[in-house]
């Protein structure tokens, strides 16, 4: 079986359609994020049941979670296979400690369960599998040839995002009085905290004597974090649809200064999106 499986070859049936993240980011209508336009609305706003479109917004987000779970399973599975057992100190061919592979095997078990939960939740919310497009950035981050960067990008950045999303959805279910959603999100959230902590622990352990590698990994995490702040989708602004879940991130091994940095990255991502919107404004005006 080959190592480092390319994203283009992921197994998907005809229900699933891939849309590149760039297509979303470069959508000229994102000018709405900065310019209230004719409707007078700045953006979709925080995801709470009070939003008129809340049920459909929650369905779309849940579908994004579902395809993310598939890719997380695929990524953790690849990490079990792609690297030889060794010290993991970065010398020679990529190697990882056997215990890291065990962690990834445990994560596969969790992600497989999350896929099944997500499928059931999609049915509960009235969503067809494949109803919304899939972007494959999570798996792409899981293709990094350095296992430390891979775990930092996936487990700390993207699973960290999952903590924020699951916490938002758990609160959504609680406020809406939906016991099924609240219960499922709470259980998955607990697993995500474990996954993020795995990433934090392995990052520190494998780079304890290799600060340049640690810095490369953290820089990779910053890039992934910025991309997945999606122009303010996740952040600490009042109208960010998904809020930074500081308490759960703390449980997952994030330090206060790391969360402050993440909040700043999200703010920068939002400002950059607004700058793009500003640049596109003449096109919309005509």
């Amino acid at each position: 079986m080959r190592k480092s499986f390319p994203v283009e070859d992921l197994a998907r049936d005809e229900r699933f359609v891939h849309v590149a993240l760039a297509d979303r980011i470069n959508d000229p209508r994102n000018a709405q994020a900065a310019d209230s336009g004719s409707s007078g609305r700045r953006g979709a706003g925080r995801l709470t049941p009070e939003r008129p479109d809340a049920p459909d917004a929650a369905r779309a987000l849940m579908h994004g979670i579902f395809v993310g779970e598939i890719q997380a399973l695929e990524g953790a599975g690849r990490t079990c296979w792609d690297f030889e057992v060794g010290s993991g100190n970065g010398e020679g061919i990529p190697e990882v400690p056997f215990e890291l592979k065990l962690d990834m095997a445990r994560q596969c078990w969790d992600e497989a369960r999350h896929c099944e939960i997500s499928i059931k939740l999609s049915g509960h919310m009235g969503t067809d599998l494949g109803e919304f497009s899939e972007n494959t950035f999570l798996y792409e981050a899981a293709c990094n040839p350095d296992p430390v960067l891979r775990l930092t990008g996936v487990n700390r950045a993207l699973e960290g995002l999952a903590i924020d999303v699951f916490n938002t959805m758990r609160e959504f279910g609680e406020i809406a009085g939906d016991p099924v959603l609240e219960f499922c999100e709470d259980w998955m959230l607990a697993d995500e905290v474990t996954h993020v902590k795995m990433g934090s622990d392995w990052l520190r352990k494998l780079t304890a004597d290799d600060k340049p590698r640690q810095e490369r990994a953290l820089e990779f995490q910053r890039v992934v974090d910025k991309l997945f702040s999606l122009g303010g989708f996740r952040g600490e602004e009042d109208d960010s649809p998904v809020r930074l879940a500081r308490r759960f991130r703390e449980l997952a091994g994030f330090k206060d200064d790391e969360m402050d940095t993440l909040a700043q990255i999200a703010k920068e991502a939002r400002e950059e999106m607004e700058a793009i919107a500003e640049a596109n404004r003449p096109a919309i005006a005509h």
Partner: protein, 180 residues
Amino acid sequence: MPVEIRPETFSLVHFDANEIRAIVEKLVVLIGLPAAASVTIEVDESTPLAHAVVTSTDPIVIAVESGAFEDPKVVRHLNAIAATDVLGKLLLSVKDRLDPAFGEAPADADLTLPEVAAWETYCVGRLGRLGHRVQRQRRLYQFRNRHGFTDAADAAFDALWTADGLTWADISAISNQATA
């Protein structure tokens, strides 16, 4: 029937005004709106959001954000099923408002979220019986979000989903009972 689509040419999304016009013309006949009814669809293509609202019933004017017609799998492209779903639901609500027997419903802006969900359930249920593909479970989830995840809410949903000839007082009463 005069049907106008604004704008006639789209620059930020890949929508075809003629395709939207054909959907409206088909729906007007299917739903049974007056043949002489004038319908204008104003599409705000500057936003990917998906709000849609009736701004006038005579003439009929519907304002739509482009996300409401968008294919969830293909960015900035029209999805005929989504457009039919949104327009069909709104045109059925217009038909209700134009029917004196329906009674006086509050203005759209004054409807509560449970009332909106109840009326939409009634409209989409009828749209499904007219032959359009509808997502019953999606609508049930919306209804439950506004009326509670209870057996009483589910029974109220079924009553609205399968009904014809309801008045605003009927819809309002079913909605209120479900949340009581």
